[in-house]
Amino acid sequence: MSKKDLGLLILILVVGAVVAIINPRFLLPINLANTSNLIGLFGILSIGQAFVIITGGIELSVGSVVALLGTLFIDFIAVRDMEWPLAFVLIIVLGAIIGLAHGWLITRLKLQPFVVTLCGLLIYRGVARFYTGDGTAGFAFGQNFPELEFLTAGRSYGVPNSFIALIVIAIVMWVVLHRSVFGRYLYAIGKNEEAAKYSGIRTGRVVMAAYVICGVLTALSAIYFAMYTRSISPASHGQFYELYAIAAAVLGGFSLRGGEGSLIGVLLGTVLLQELQNLVNLLGIPSSLNFAVMGGVILIGVLVDQQWGVFRARRLMLDATRKGAAGAPAE
């Protein structure tokens, strides 16, 4: 765990302590379970986003994908009577295809990620609304899917299974990002794509894979969100979720220029965001201020991080000149 992550963890604990003192209900099992469920849902989404951001890209269509794939998933199992495991696989494949399409447009046709995914944001939202005739996708009265519901919205020993899913995914993705060859390529490309290319890395494929990973994780979270809300009105479902995901990554130390950030960082970023949501609810702050509180905290967080970076760079430079002095006569 880096110092940056540690700082974020301390901030989370301090905010938690303050909230708990003001309103002890914060620590009630029911509140903790609800919050950790949301952390699970948004965490999966944010990890996907992080893989794109590390390459210096951005994925803005996440919220619309959550709406479209969620709508399709409910439609598949509730209306079309598809077996849920089949529907599950189909949705994941669709997510991968969306990611592949984005990656292809960005790496092969050299479109900017912002533009491609902005168009995606508009297109998928529109398709989702058209698909339901601007209605609501939901389950009929008495429709039950016990295994699916247990896996998505259920709990094991009081812990939401969505949160457990996040932990499992996080461990796997941590290994991928921080230990694998692919992860090293991601960092190298994010730092300097040209230099990576000059080292013989097939950068296009690597970047495309990052968008596919994002698409798959987004599809997975779309299913979780759908089973959490159980009814979806495609006009508003998942709105701004891409911004939650980006915010979590940025809070977690990711640079939008690419090449920087850790998996633990994006997890902690998600935790802090959900904690703030919870804080707004528990402290009786008007919920209309919700976004303002989040925006303010992110701004302060990034500002502190930036100033800390400047301070560290200065210190490093001083160290370097000192070392240079010690090393010079030996040369």
């Binding site: 694998s180 060859v181 090293r184 390529y185 300097n192 040209e194 000059y198 080292s199 013989g200 000149t321």
Partner: protein
């Protein structure tokens, strides 16, 4: 050009600038130690020294960016403890930096008078373009420019852009122009133009401090050479004593071993390794290039900047699209769709722009070295840090990379050591063909000699080495054969017996060698 013949006789005039016992320390390091020097009006001083000798600190002091701890700086007879940026500018000291500070999207006139444009008056503060042009024209004439005031800077060559910088210096009535490595990225013919400009400044009584690693240019233009070593004045050479070996001796405090030269015994040429067959590049899509590089040789590729050498290298490495023709390796036609293909075949490139393309500055030495061959340093797709460190450690010792450890961030290394990291990552992979684009640009003399030695060792081991260079001494001193490019085509290939600066130059401008 028409200059008055009354060039000022240097020795009889009071110095324009003199430094006396200047000392500057940074925490834990003495950057300058009791340094003294004088610059007289109309004098061209060559300032040489290895990287880290204190040149940059000296420049910062003269530019008023930092103050010396002790010592005096006398400008025009007035003694100062230190200069300020305004004070330095005001007394007529102008800098032309290695990295030019021009706005490429603006024209020449706008660049020269940027922020000081003549205005028409009135509330809109419109620029008086007519007056601007009449003011710029004579300045351009003084630097011998062959372009006009309204030429966009983006269309100028590097040497021309430097002329713009010098014209800018003249526009503020500079009395001392400090040129920091002005020729390091210039090809031969352009360098001559720049040296002419320096001579022109001299006849006007303007002093010049010329900082360069290219000693033969210093030799040609300097009236006096000041050598810095470890922050101290290592020596001053009067005009009559300026020569390459003397400078090197003072710079490094000892004589260099026999300058790197291919052993005189004729080498038996190996078989053709890399062969370009009618290859066309994006820069000259209508000019097919045929070129063979043999095993065991260093083939120098000379030519003017813009002659298409770098583009050819990039196509051979698979980075750039090929507009026609084939590339063969050991007689076999290659599928070459990306750099990854070239790397898989053992064709490696050390690119021209080290910081942009050669190394990842934020990664460690070990991570840079393992990057092109990462799967070999991994088990089940998981990177093994110890395998990386072992490879890097071996290369660090082989190449003598000076760094605290292989975990050091590459960005903190000197240029020469960064270049060694670029070389190391390829050497660790058994190259068949090694393409080096300006491998010693901006690297100090000691490291240069080491890199020449490495190239020779590679060739001796049977590797085909293709070296692009704009440094004449280097091309002639290091190559076994020299191919010269002119406007996208190979204008000629010289064998060892025909090597001469003249022949290379003639071919570079598209004429026949003698």
């Amino acid at each position: 050009m028409n200059y008055s013949d009354t060039s000022i006789v240097a020795s009889t005039t009071a110095p324009f600038l003199s430094l006396e016992g200047v000392r500057k320390t940074y925490p834990g390091v003495v950057a300058l130690d009791g340094f003294s020097m004088e610059v007289r009006p109309g004098e061209v001083i060559g300032l040489v020294g290895e990287n880290g000798a204190g040149k940059s600190t000296l420049m910062k002091i003269l530019g008023g960016v930092t103050r010396p701890d002790t010592g005096t700086i006398t400008v025009d007879g007035v003694a100062h403890d230190g200069l300020t940026v305004e004070g330095s500018l005001g007394s007529g000291i102008a800098f032309v930096h290695q990295e030019l500070n021009l706005f490429e999207n603006l024209d020449v006139a706008a660049n020269i008078f940027f922020g000081r444009e003549p205005l028409r008056g009135g509330p809109l503060r419109l620029v008086d373009r007519a007056r601007l042009r009449t003011q710029v024209a004579p300045l351009l004439k003084r630097v011998g420019a062959n372009f006009s005031a309204d030429t966009p800077v983006s269309t100028l060559s590097l040497a021309q852009q430097q002329m713009v910088e010098i014209a800018k210096a003249l526009s503020i009535k500079a009395r001392l122009v400090i040129l920091d490595e002005p020729t390091s990225s210039l090809p031969i013919a352009e360098t001559d133009k720049l040296l002419d400009v320096i001579k022109a400044l001299k006849t006007e009584g303007i002093s010049v401090i010329f900082i360069s690693h290219r000693l033969h240019e210093v030799e040609r233009v300097a009236d006096r050479v000041v050598v810095l070593r470890d922050g101290m004045l290592a020596g001053t050479l009067p005009k009559s004593a300026i020569n390459h070996d003397q400078m090197v001796k003072l710079m490094i405090g000892r004589m260099l071993k026999e300058r790197e030269k291919a052993s005189e015994a004729a080498r038996a040429p190996g078989s053709v390794a890399l062969s370009a067959k009618a290859v066309r590049t994006g820069a000259y899509p209508d000019r097919p290039v045929d070129l063979d590089v043999r095993h065991g040789e260093i083939l120098g590729l000379a030519g003017l900047v813009g002659s298409g050498r770098t583009e050819l290298a990039r196509v051979l490495f698979g980075i750039d699209e090929r507009f026609g023709g084939n590339v063969e390796l050991d007689g076999q036609q290659m599928a070459l769709g990306s750099a990854a293909d070239a790397v898989a075949h053992g064709i490696f490139l050390v690119p021209e722009d080290r910081k942009l393309n050669g190394v990842l500055l934020d990664l460690s030495i070990a991570q840079n070295i393992s990057l092109p061959n990462l799967p070999a340093h991994a088990r089940h797709q998981l990177v093994s840090a110890s395998a990386e460190a072992a490879t890097a450690e071996k290369q660090k010792n082989n190449l003598g990379i000076k760094a605290p450890s292989v975990a050091t961030r590459t960005g903190t290394l000197s240029g020469g050591n960064q270049q060694k990291v670029v070389l190391a990552k390829w050497l660790a992979m058994n190259p068949k063909v090694m393409i080096l684009d300006e491998p010693t640009r901006g690297i100090d003399i000691g490291a240069k000699a080491e890199i020449y030695g490495l190239m020779r060792a590679l060739a001796d081991a049977g590797v085909a080495v293709l070296m692009i260079s704009s440094d004449m001494e280097e091309v002639i001193g290091v190559s076994d054969r020299i191919a010269v490019m002119h406007e996208g085509q190979i204008s000629g290939i010289l064998d060892k017996d025909d090597f001469s600066q003249e022949n290379v130059l003639l071919l570079a401008v598209g004429k026949k060698p003698r």
